[in-house]
Symmetry: C2
Subunit: 125 residues, 2 copies
DNA sequence: CTTATCTTGACAACACCATTGTCATGGTTT
DNA sequence: AAACCATGACAATGGTGTTGTCAAGATAAG
């Protein structure tokens, strides 16, 4: 217990540099910078301007990858969905997964496929 | 029993053939057929298989036009947004509009009641 | 110091998508 | 008969997503 009081395990703590983050989400570092330019993810920076991604950032990117690759949504659509979620203050995206897994075996929750232990990109383990 | 609410003014009543509907939303009839193929709109059909669009269909198409043209969302994104809205059973898309109007005390969603002849949820045209 | 990795910015290739448009053949409406 | 609709096919245009590279400079770690 008391894991919630350990900042070194905080999901918001920035830890991964861009090359590691890119590996975690099976994307090119170039792609991650584009996501940032598009305002879809905002990794922290070291005092010397180096990007550091947190676990939350990774999960957010995995959502982007799922929406774009599995559902064919473009970045503008992802931005709209994120904006909607923030505006409603709810995890509305989870509703998409309930449908995907229950409706039919169309979209299994497995966006990553390069040995990533994380099979669930939904924010909220 | 019949016509208790003047069905001739029901927003769900199919009235417009495709050429008229296309004019109303400033799109090509070809585009409207694509929307239907993509499952984004489902106009009624006459017994002889002619498409007839209702006011609700028109408004739905205007949402598609707004999302695609003004926000750059692709059809897959529109489908996801519609799916999310249907799954949550709320008019979540209206939350996107508050951003454009910047009005906090916007008119509350009033489902089921189409008392106003024109709610005009469509983008400024 | 040397090496590897990071930064921004630009350029580009590849495949895919949205929209409009046309053509053809045939059914429907007026 | 004329005008419209249905389906299906084909294509052109412009845009997007992703990856990739090259450059020049800053930073981290050996």
């Amino acid at each position: 217990m008391s894991a919630a009081r350990r900042p070194d395990r905080d999901a918001t703590r920035p830890v991964y540099v861009i090359s590691v983050a890119a590996t975690l989400v099976s994307a090119h570092p170039r792609t991650l910078r584009i996501y940032e330019d598009e305002g879809l993810v905002c990794p922290a920076r070291t005092p010397t301007n180096i990007r550091l991604y947190s676990e939350e950032d990774i999960r957010r990117i995995l959502w982007i990858r799922h929406l774009t690759r599995d559902r064919g949504v473009n970045l503008a659509g992802v931005r709209t969905l994120f904006e909607l979620e923030e505006r409603l203050g709810k995890r509305i995206l989870e509703a998409l997964y309930d449908e995907g897994t229950r409706g039919r075996g169309e979209a299994p929750p497995e966006p990553g496929s390069t040995g990533t232990p994380d099979g669930d990109p939904s924010p909220g383990r």
